[in-house]
Amino acid sequence: MTDARPFLPLSPQQFHILLALVDGERHGYGIIRDVEARTRRAVRLGTGTLYTALARLEALALVQESSRRPAAGDDERRKYYRLTPLGRAVLQAETERLDALVRLARRKGVAAGARPAWARTK
């Protein structure tokens, strides 16, 4: 397998998109809603941001379009996306990298606030 390290660090959007795909295939709006729900609406992906990021992730082979056809009654124009094994490995590596950083910070006595780190700039 390709080494995951050259792909790091991920941008926050990329991280959230990969995270949204961990437990299954989703279509574009599904990703947006998953990220919003998971971050309690603190991270709201715009459609343009999502797809330019998806384009990049697809080009890096971290994500691929799923061959799954939408369920009956679903909008047939929708495409579904899923993690590639490489994507899963990169997500894993990025999580380890972030975890290591956080541990370093904790050891210096920097405590996490009440809000998650990715929500600070809001």
Partner: protein, 892 residues
């Protein structure tokens, strides 16, 4: 309403996807649209403002993400700059939410403003769409800038027809990569259901090369087809759909055209409409006889050419000029004074409709401007009520720029709503325009709202939002910053606001006057034109075309026999008073021919007289009620065996036999329309009244009428005068002809009245459109005047109370405000009439029978506008007179 807003938002977003880098767009555009559709669907449950907010957020996100993707930036650097932008954006979003909330709280104001804007933006966008589709968009041919139409002129008059040898020589003059000739005519199709008449174009081998077009299926006609005289045909996309339901496998099959089988070798792409709108293209073969120098006078082919790379159109004209001079010296009879010129095909195609379309675009822009002024006025009124809020915010430290920005965001929000509604208006209006537009506007069928039109609407909307938002923003904030907070107590914008409103209304009046004068001039032109006597009586006349195929009617005698029988049968039908055959029906652009001729004792020369060439059967003049002025009409005795005779019209008599009696004179006509036509000297036996031929607005040309038996043309019109509704006679005529030849189709079945109507349809269309613009403009201006006076009345309630208490009568008060209205109207009128005098020149080619400074029109408009302004002032003035002095004095 929300559904409509969501649908419009989706279209806008779809259009904005062009911002994305190409690769991303190609891969994801459809999916992005599906995602945004789902988001809009969810947002639309919360109402229009959420849809608008979502759209704004998504468009912003798309713009930022696209820019980032284009730069290849992966991470947003978390710098101070980003923070600042972020703050500015969230402040703007906050303003936007606030603006929408305000708009929702004042539904009356919002509705009036949105409807006003929608009318302005919708009208402008619709007209722009038509102008863009007809005038601006390049022709659907390869490199249309280098595509030329060749013109052929003599004595300053340019025509599009060449003789084959002249075409050959002009085409070989050097500057062209390729050139092709074409001739339009029609052909009978049989063996595919009912026999029918098809529009046909004969084209030389280079035709498709010059246009740079490939057939959508099969191949194009090429030089080899022409050289081998192959019976091959390229059919139009339209015919392919109509006849074969767009089925595959049509290429290779045979079509029977005029009784002969032709192999279908290709299907043309849908955009190919040259010359006219042909159904089929066939190879045009010139015989050596066609190309001989003797035929230089026979002008019947059109010519297109493609410029070589690096050659300018002027160089082409110079090169052709050298050839023309050489031909003029070698063949003085036919070519003396003859020029060859080239013009861009696109310019030539749209030449006829350009002035009207540009005037309409100007008019729509004026309507938009008036709409903006009106909304600015409404905003000013509302800003007046908010001056206290502005003053408070200024006092607690808001920067003026920030306050102005907030006002602008509000007008942008209003503009966005107006645009959304305006796009709906434009969509409906464009469809109506296309449906109502007269035939003959080139490319009108392809006109539809598209990305360019939406972009235009968006730019217009943004510009107008700033335009109508800026005045109130500046005035209101200026008031707040120039005065201490306490003085803003009476909830007024004070003198500057009032002055601004007066100026705005005066401008509105002036613009409305300009539009009304323009509309008035066109209405009067149309009246004059409708009253023009065409020289014949158009009521109760049915006309249709027939064309006898050569395969079945090979000789002049056969043609003559058939046409005579058709005329007899049709004339004997019940309810038909007279029937006649005619080649060269008035006001019918499809058929026309003209020829030069010489009078007794004259040699042929470049200055030989020329006249329209009509071939008619004896009853023609009686059927159309064309009066005899001198001599006799043509009759049954003038058959192929009798001496050759002609009848001329008064214009020909006046022009070519001035002061003499033409009856008894002889002429020699150089052109023969058919083989078997009489070639001898022709004696003039009569003079008939003039008939409008090219259009009611043109003078009648000189004309020569030849008796049908002596010129048996095989493609002509049958005209019949009926006792009752002429169209009701059509089935009988069709049956009568089917009984003679079941394979002979009737085409262009029309009444003479519809031909007259069609000849003025374009003017009628322009007039109606301009009149409706003027009506909207006057309505908006009246609302503006009313609005200002109503506002003045409210502002001066206290003063009115004092006046009434001091003994002024209600009539005095009414008069006071009517005077205010009269001053506004007077200034507006004066400015508007001056503007109309200046703008009138644009109407130059569109008026008929009146000058662009027609005093009656100007006076009528002035009176109408003054009355409108007085009526609009009277309502608030009445209200002022009913003020209760005690109440008034108690108001703050």
């Amino acid at each position: 309403m929300t559904r409509l807003a969501a649908a419009l938002a989706l279209r806008l977003y779809g259009a904005a996807l062009v911002l994305l880098p190409r690769a991303v767009r190609d891969r994801f555009a459809a999916d992005m649209r599906a995602t945004v559709r789902a988001r809009l669907h969810d947002a639309s449950r919360a109402g229009v403002p959420s849809v608008a907010a979502l759209l704004a957020r998504e468009l912003l996100d798309l713009a930022v993400a696209s820019a980032r993707a284009r730069r290849g930036v992966r991470h947003v650097p978390d710098t101070a700059g980003w923070q600042k932008r972020h703050l500015a954006v969230s402040a703007m979003l906050q303003d936007l939410r606030y603006a929408f909330r305000l708009l929702r709280r004042q539904p009356g104001f919002t509705a009036v403003a949105v409807v006003t804007l929608a009318l302005g933006i919708g009208a402008t966008t619709a007209v722009f769409t038509v102008v863009d589709g007809v005038l601006l968009r390049p022709l659907p041919y390869a490199d249309p800038d280098r595509l030329l139409l060749l013109l052929n002129g003599r004595n300053g008059r340019l025509s599009t027809s060449f003789s084959p040898p002249d075409f050959r020589d002009a085409a070989a003059s050097g500057p062209f990569a390729a050139a092709a000739a074409f001739a339009a005519s029609s052909v009978n199709l049989t063996g595919e259901g009912e026999p029918q008449r098809l529009q046909m174009a004969d084209v030389t081998g280079a035709f498709f090369t010059v246009l740079g077009l490939q057939p959508r299926e099969g191949r194009a006609i090429d030089e080899a087809d022409v050289a081998a005289k192959r019976r091959v045909v390229v059919i139009s996309d339209g015919l392919w759909r109509r006849l074969f339901g767009a089925r595959a496998g049509i290429v290779g099959r045979a079509l029977r055209l005029d009784g002969r089988p032709y192999e279908v070798i290709g299907i043309a792409p849908p955009g190919l409409t040259l010359p006219g709108t042909p159904d089929v293209w066939l190879p045009l073969v010139f015989t050596p006889e066609n190309l001989s120098d003797k035929q230089r006078g026979a002008h019947y082919v059109g010519a297109i050419a493609r410029l070589k790379d690096g050659v300018a159109i002027d160089q082409a004209n110079a090169a052709m000029g050298i050839v023309a001079d050489r031909l003029a010296r070698a063949f003085p009879n036919t070519n003396q004074g003859r020029q060859f010129l080239a013009t861009r095909l696109q310019e030539r195609i749209v030449r006829g409709v350009r002035p009207a379309l540009l005037v309409l675009l100007g008019a729509a822009t004026l309507v938009l401007l008036i709409a903006c002024l009106n909304v600015a006025n409404l905003l000013l009124a509302r800003a007046g009520a908010r001056s206290r809020e502005v003053a408070v915010r200024a006092a607690v430290g808001a920067a003026r720029a920030r306050l102005i920005a907030q006002f602008l965001v509000e007008s942008l929000a209003l503009g966005a709503l107006g645009t959304a509604a305006g796009i709906a208006v434009a969509w409906a209006a464009t469809r109506a325009l296309v449906a109502l537009a007269p035939a003959g506007i080139p490319r009108i069928d392809d006109v539809a709202i598209d990305v360019r039109a939406l972009a235009f609407a968006a730019i217009v909307a943004a510009a107008t939002s700033v335009l109508f938002g800026l005045v109130p923003a500046l005035t209101t904030t200026a008031a707040a910053f120039s005065r201490a907070i306490g003085h803003a107590g009476r909830g007024s914008v004070g003198a500057s606001g009032t002055r601004a409103r007066r100026v705005l209304v005066t401008c509105e009046m002036a613009l409305a006057v300009v539009l009304l004068v323009g509309a008035g001039l066109l209405v009067r032109s149309f009246e004059r034109l409708s009253a023009v006597d065409p020289g014949f009586s158009a009521d109760h006349v049915l006309t249709f075309h027939i064309a006898l195929p050569e395969a079945k009617y090979p000789t002049a005698a056969a043609v003559r026999q058939m046409v005579t029988t058709v005329v007899q049968r049709v004339g004997a039908l019940p309810g038909v008073a007279r029937a006649a055959a005619v080649f060269g029906l008035p006001l019918d652009s499809d058929f026309s021919a003209s020829s030069s001729f010489t009078r007794t004792g004259e040699a042929d020369s470049a200055d030989a007289p020329s006249a329209g060439f009509r071939v008619v059967s004896p009853d023609y003049f009686a059927a159309l009620h064309i009066p005899l002025r001198a001599g006799r009409l043509l009759d049954e005795r003038d058959d192929e065996a009798a001496a050759e005779v002609v009848v001329i019209n008064e214009e020909a008599a006046r022009r070519y036999w001035p002061g003499r009696n033409p009856v008894g004179q002889q002429i020699n006509v150089s052109v023969r329309l058919v083989t078997g036509a009489g070639t001898g000297l022709k004696t003039i036996v009569g003079v008939v009244g003039d008939v409008k031929f090219g259009g009611l607005d043109l003078t009648a040309p000189p004309e020569i009428y030849l008796p049908y038996p002596q010129q048996p043309v095989d493609s002509l019109t049958i005209a019949m005068r009926t006792a009752d509704d002429p169209l009701a006679a059509a089935p009988m005529a069709r049956a009568a002809i089917a009984s003679l030849d079941p394979e002979l189709p009737l085409s262009d079945v029309r009444t003479m009245e519809s031909l007259v109507g069609r000849s003025i349809a374009e003017r009628r269309f322009t007039m109606l459109l301009l009149a409706s613009f003027a009506a909207v403009a006057v309505l908006l201006a009246a609302i503006g005047v009313y609005g200002v006076l109503a506002y003045l009345v409210t502002r001066r309630t206290q003063e009115i109370g004092v006046r009434l208490a001091m003994g002024a009568t209600p009539a005095d008060v009414v008069q006071l405000f009517l005077r205010e209205g009269a001053v506004l109207a007077g200034i507006g009128l004066a400015a508007g009439l001056a503007g109309a005098l200046a703008a009138g020149r644009a109407l130059g080619s569109l008026v008929f029978g009146v000058t662009t400074t027609d005093p009656a029109t100007f006076a009528g408009v002035a009176i109408a506008m003054a009355l409108t302004a007085l009526a609009a002032s009277y309502i608030p003035a009445r209200r002022a007179a009913r003020v209760d002095p005690m109440d008034a004095l108690r108001t703050d």
